[in-house]
């Protein structure tokens, strides 16, 4: 059975281009132009993954509204925000609402499709018991590249996809400095320096929420960041 993806996007040309790209990958795609039609459709049937534009027609933050509604309907539904607005505030708000990823429309279709594929892989992996393959263990940190899940001292740290790949890139070679470009490449995103900085900041906060003593991501001024593992 084909996996279904719903695209909620008010710009018809973009919507159709995305739909065509996903359809080429073998997904069944449904498109909605505004929150009202999307909500109505989701009430009867939920898709397997939703790509939402934040500003929808006359609602500048209609995407957030829709996200909230969907999270009420299903906690595990993969959700990706796509927006022309890449400001800090949008990112923070979107992720707080429980989006799995937050991407600007700068992203190429190939990258977008890769993201979607990765998210589906994670959904699949979560349904299977963990087998330890593709796991990275660094002291208190363990990363499951199948489930795209990070745990710290056994506790799950809820990272977005981008954040997961950043942590993964850092932790794979502890002590090695990764500059911003390397981190972007690892996460398959095009971000500017500020967004990387705020991602790092957010990652630290998420770990600190689990362990207030967390201090493993170190800033190498002018160069980038590195993972410090006190245990090795």
């Amino acid at each position: 059975m084909k996996r279904s993806i719903a695209i909620v996007e008010d710009e018809a040309a973009i919507r159709d281009n995305y739909a065509a790209a996903f359809a080429r990958e073998g997904y069944s795609v449904r498109t909605y132009a505004n929150r009202r039609t999307a909500t109505a459709a989701f009430a009867t049937r939920l898709p397997d993954l939703v790509v939402i534009d934040i500003s929808l027609e006359d609602e500048p933050e209609g995407g957030f509204e829709l996200c909230r509604t969907l999270r009420n309907q299903s906690a595990g539904l993969p959700l990706i925000f796509l927006t022309a607005r890449d400001s800090e505030l949008d990112a923070v708000s979107g992720l707080r609402l429980g989006a799995d990823d937050f991407l600007t429309k700068d992203i190429s279709l190939a990258h977008l499709v890769a993201r979607v594929n990765a998210l589906f892989r994670r959904v699949d992996a979560l349904t299977r018991p963990a087998d330890g393959s593709g796991a990275v263990q660094r002291g208190s940190l363990s990363l499951d590249t199948e489930r795209l899940q990070a745990t710290w001292n056994g506790e799950v740290v809820l990272l977005s996809l981008t954040e997961f790949w950043i942590v993964h890139a850092l932790a794979r070679n502890p002590g090695h400095v990764k500059n911003r470009q390397q981190l972007m490449d690892a996460a398959n995103v095009v971000l500017d320096d500020n967004t990387i900085t705020s991602h790092i900041k957010r990652i630290r906060r998420k770990f600190q929420a689990v362990d207030p003593a967390f201090d493993s991501i170190h800033t190498a001024y002018g160069m980038g960041y590195r993972w410090l593992d006190p245990s090795c």
Binding site: R24, E88, Y221, G222
Partner: protein
Amino acid sequence: MLIRTRLLLLGLATLALPWAGCQYAREMEASLRAAESEGLRAVAQTIATSLQGRSDLLYRSTGGQGSRAPAGPFDLEPVPLSPEPQLDGRDDDWPRVQRAWRTYGTVPRAAPEPALREVEPVAVLAGTAGRFLFVLLRVRDTGLVLDASDASALDPAAMGDRIWLGFATPRGELDQVFLSGWTTGDLRGRRIVTREFGRAEMADEPRVQGAWVRSPEGWTAELRIPLSMIADRFGVLVDDRARRGGEPRPMGSLAPGDLAPRGRLIAAAPELTSYLTQFAQPGVRIVAASPAGATLAEADALPLIAANSGAQALLSRLYRRFLDRAALAERITETERGRIDRIQAESAAAGRSSSAVFATSDERRMVVAAAAPIRESATGPVLGVLQVAQTADRWLLLRDRALTRLLNLTLLATLLVVGLIAVFGTRLAIRLERLRRASDAALTRDGRVHSAFPDVASKDELGAVARGFSALLERLDGYTSYLRTLAGKLAHEIRTPLTIVRSSLENLGTEPLSAPAREYLQRAREGSDRLGQILQAMGSATRVEEAIEGAEFVDCDLAAVLTGAAHGYSQAFPARRFAVVGAETACPIHAAPDLLLQMLDKLVDNAVDFSPVDSTITFRLVVPADSAQVAVEVDNVGPRLPPGSASRIFESLWQARVDRGDKPHFGLGLYIVRLIARRHGGWAEAEDLPDNSGVRFRVWLRRVVAQM
């Protein structure tokens, strides 16, 4: 000129008030004077009329008609002397009366021309005091020749200079007395008496006395003779000898042969003074004079001026000094004693009465005088002149008092006005200065606009100006912030169509296409990528502003940040060398390291773009002693700053670099530097290196910044 100074000068215009007051006081004085003059003229006319036809009261002479004829060159008009001069030969106790002198030379002249007066050797001045006639002689001579002491006065060989007096006696006989001496000092009066058989004999005349002394020009002599000896004719003659016993050179008003007097003695009748005195009042002087103006008699009751005292006097004298000068110049100085004013005398001699104001020679006393002719009969010839003079002090005092008061008041008013204007002007100047400072500071060094203006609440024109400025600056602020955010907004708006283009191109790439179509597709992709980079750059300022808002400040070591950054850059830009100066010791600072790094990124981007390959980019940490600020300098060799760009280089969207085509530039890099510097309580500046080999960027940062 400062506004305050101009206002003060304007305030000085109130000095016109005292000026106007002075004009008024002067007019008042003039009208008072006119009334006074008129009254005085009437008085003079009355007294003159009472003397009409009384030549016996006027002149002592019994010579009849002779007295009334105008004085000739040989006529002597004695001046009244008071007090009686001392008989010492000196003229220092005689009044200075230039016009009463008679001069004589060797050649008798009917009318000596004025030019001769100075050069003719003998000058005679007559005066009366009580019962005596006094004669003062000034003789221009090579020397005083004295008689031989042991010889007879009649011996011609023993004779020196000799003074002869010739006169008619009351009995109608002619008489002569001479004076000579063998010493200077006292002179003896003697006469030659012819005895029987024509024998001449010397006889002392003790009633005639005198004295002579040498003077620089020759000698002077003073003589005294009782008026009772003389009728109406009188003359003086000097026998001047070059040496003792020499030939005499006769000079004077006696006929040289028989020594008969050739002129008259025009003296006042003895009763005249007492007659005039009956009209005298305090403060009034009555003078009777000959038609030529020589005083015959006077009743003088003019008081000495009462000396003012204290500050009042000082002030009024000061005012008078300033304001009366012109008025004084109009007045004629009162003539010397013994003569009345010539113009008045002439007009009286012509039969007209007149009045005038005089100042005494010391200018301390003002006198108003009226003169009227004394006639023989109602229409007859003029016998003499009667002058009535009155001190003008009375109305002068009145005017002075009014003037002083007026001046004091107006000066006080002027001071008050000037003071008020000074206060007002100062206040105005302060407000203007405040406005000026506010307008100077309205555009800050980093290009922000402060629209807060002082004085906007005040209701006057300055307040309106301030409000106008404030409104203008608010609009300007709005405009600049619109410009600042325009790039970000534009980037956002363009992003959606760009996404359409990109995603369409990507979808197109999956379709089967001909080889040329693929090529076109590739070009379109490259173009849209470029466009994407441009958008990225355009929006970066806005994103940085947002990042700055949310920046976290921590305690860190600026030296470590700089060292680490330099290390990072040397990997990122292998074609440049990076050096760090001044970072050997730790420099603790409370800052946002992420922002500082971004700032350094922009500075290094800029430095790399402008510096040649393999050159060194130098980071320098400048820590001034006891300063709350530190500076980070980034030097690079390369071209100098474009002229005039040092202050504008940090503005948004300003760029001087030549686009190299590889990467879009919007002049946002240095603007971001400025934003970050400002967030750290500092500012950014740029300058050429001292040796002009390149450019230095300097960013000042506060060591401790308050959290936003």
